[in-house]
């Protein structure tokens, strides 16, 4: 009956998680509730504004319906109700960042020390000081995270990783579970159902950030060697420490750009994985990344990409517009273009046979006693804990 998000105190505080004080928890509780209000209680107002006045006004002005999601966006951006809703949501995202950063930065000495305990002297954390963020990561701060994934408050810190980890609860109103790893848990559940008894020898996760979705794979397949790569050192430092704290020993975090995986030989991995990552690349990088993934994938292996649904001709233009909100209001500059691509065609172009492809749906796996299950209630477009999985089983040689 209450239908409220779980409390922030239900978030698992692993050994490198920032320690929230009473009011910091309460700030995230407010935002979790507020985000649910925006997407649930009043999210439908956007559609109402469109149907009752934006679309009629557009037809009156142009003598036709909008031709694409961009025309809808420009028209909606003149509607006072939609503008107000967008302003509320943008502020919520900004407040989440400030709240998370305040909590992390006031205890950064302790967090860096804790991470060092797990990281120092381990060859499972491989950083490349010569690497700079790729253009598509440096253009704007993704999700309005000041500094994005690669920013440092001082050299060698974990602030970006800790801030990213601690605020996912608020952004998704608890939808990704106690460790914000509902996506990774969903992968485990899906693959066990799909291929019972399958034991991949090597798994590659790219765009891993703090390893939310890679660590469940490492824990589920203790005999596998998991490689998690990202271009940003601060999230890798934090992610490696977090993985060790959670007991994952068979996972290596490496700073690398997936456009060039020449460090790995052909057919090296049985499973290559991205989870909500491809939309944070670029039009030139994406085909290169998919090409490299197909190259390093062994015959008989699995390529799987979790994303929000791609826009197709079958998807109504209004839905495409509302799914595009984050692209222009939450600093996701490749989101719109990426979702308009046909991922299946790109996977074929990368060298995977068309008949090896599949598309399926995957929902976050959480403890439903405490955390909300995906698919219940109104969808918070762009951050719903349910994804389309675009995959392929590479034919055996």
């Amino acid at each position: 009956m209450t239908d409220v998000p779980p409390p922030y105190s239900a978030v698992t505080r692993h050994a490198v998680f920032p320690e929230p004080d009473h009011d910091e928890k309460a700030r995230f509780n407010f935002l979790a509730n507020f985000n649910r209000y925006l997407s649930g209680t009043i999210g439908a107002g956007n559609r109402l504004a469109y149907d009752t006045r934006v679309l009629p006004a557009f037809r009156a002005e142009h003598g036709r319906d909008p031709a694409d999601r961009f025309e809808i966006r420009h028209a909606m951006n003149r509607d006072p109700w939609h503008r107000f809703w967008s302003a509320l949501k943008r502020n919520s995202m900004e407040m989440r960042q400030q709240n998370g950063r305040a909590m992390v930065l006031r205890q950064l000495d302790e967090l860096d020390a804790k991470a060092r305990q797990f990281n120092e002297g381990r060859d499972t954390l491989q950083l490349d000081p010569a690497m700079s963020p790729p253009r598509y990561q440096a253009a704007v701060d993704i999700h309005c995270m000041p500094g994005s994934y690669h920013g440092e408050e001082r050299p060698g810190d974990v602030s970006a990783g800790a801030n990213y980890d601690c605020g996912i609860f608020a952004t998704t109103a608890g939808g990704l579970g106690a460790l914000s790893d509902g996506g990774g848990q969903a992968l485990v559940e899906w693959v066990r159902r799909e291929r019972p008894g399958w034991e991949p020898r090597r798994i590659l996760d790219i765009g891993c950030t703090v390893g939310h979705n890679a660590v469940p794979l490492a824990l589920a397949f203790p005999q596998s060697e998991v490689i998690a790569i990202d271009t940003a050192a601060p999230v890798l430092r934090y992610g490696h420490a977090r993985a060790r704290a959670l007991g994952a020993r068979n996972i290596t975090f490496a700073q690398a750009n997936a456009e060039d995986l020449s460090r790995f030989p052909d057919a090296h991995f049985d499973w290559v994985q991205t989870t909500m990552f491809l939309h944070e690349t670029s039009g030139k990088a994406l085909p290169r990344i998919l090409g490299e993934l197909t190259r390093v994938l062994a015959p008989g292996g699995l390529a799987l990409h979790l994303e929000q649904p791609q826009y197709s001709d079958e998807m109504p233009l209004y839905e495409q517009f509302i799914r595009d909100w984050d692209a222009f209001n939450n600093n996701e500059p490749f989101w719109s273009a990426m979702h308009a691509l046909d991922l299946k065609e790109l996977m074929v172009a990368s060298g995977l046979p068309r008949e090896s492809l599949f598309v399926t749906g995957v929902k976050a796996v959480v403890d439903p006693e405490v955390f909300p299950e995906a698919g219940k209630g109104a969808e918070d477009h762009g951050r719903a804990a349910a994804w389309h999985a675009y995959g392929a089983w590479k034919p055996a040689a």
Binding site: P5, P7, A26, A87, M95, A102, D141
Partner: protein, 118 residues
């Protein structure tokens, strides 16, 4: 405490031009302030709830108890409901604007004239 100016750095601006949601930039600023204050009121209310629960349970309260307080499931649901009802109160205008879009209504002046004349 570290030597980082964590209060200033917490509020750093994210790279990327912020959309203007209102014609008057002052409105964008006012809404940011209003929402931050709204959040802090919710935080204070939750803290008061913590104090009340600790007093109910122990008859006394300390700051350490407040900081380490963790609600059980029932208490968490009650506190979630407090926040939900609070948000519904402060957002009433936006929500009623939404309802107004669903059904076109004549101005009350017009209703008044109709009632006078018929």
């Amino acid at each position: 405490m570290n030597d980082l100016d964590w209060i200033a750095r917490a509020g750093a601006k994210a790279k990327g031009k912020r959309p203007a949601y209102f014609d008057d930039p002052a409105l964008d600023r006012m809404l940011s302030i209003l929402l931050a204050v709204a959040g802090e009121v919710s935080v204070l209310r939750e803290r008061l709830d913590t104090v009340e629960r600790l007093l109910d349970a122990k008859g006394t309260v300390s700051r350490a108890d407040i900081e380490s307080y963790e609600p059980d499931r029932a208490a968490a649901a009650e506190r979630g409901l407090l926040a939900k009802a609070y948000i519904a109160r402060i957002m009433r205008g936006v929500q009623q604007d939404m309802e107004a879009m669903a059904k076109a209504e004549p101005p009350v002046e017009e209703v008044s004239r109709t009632l006078r004349d018929t």
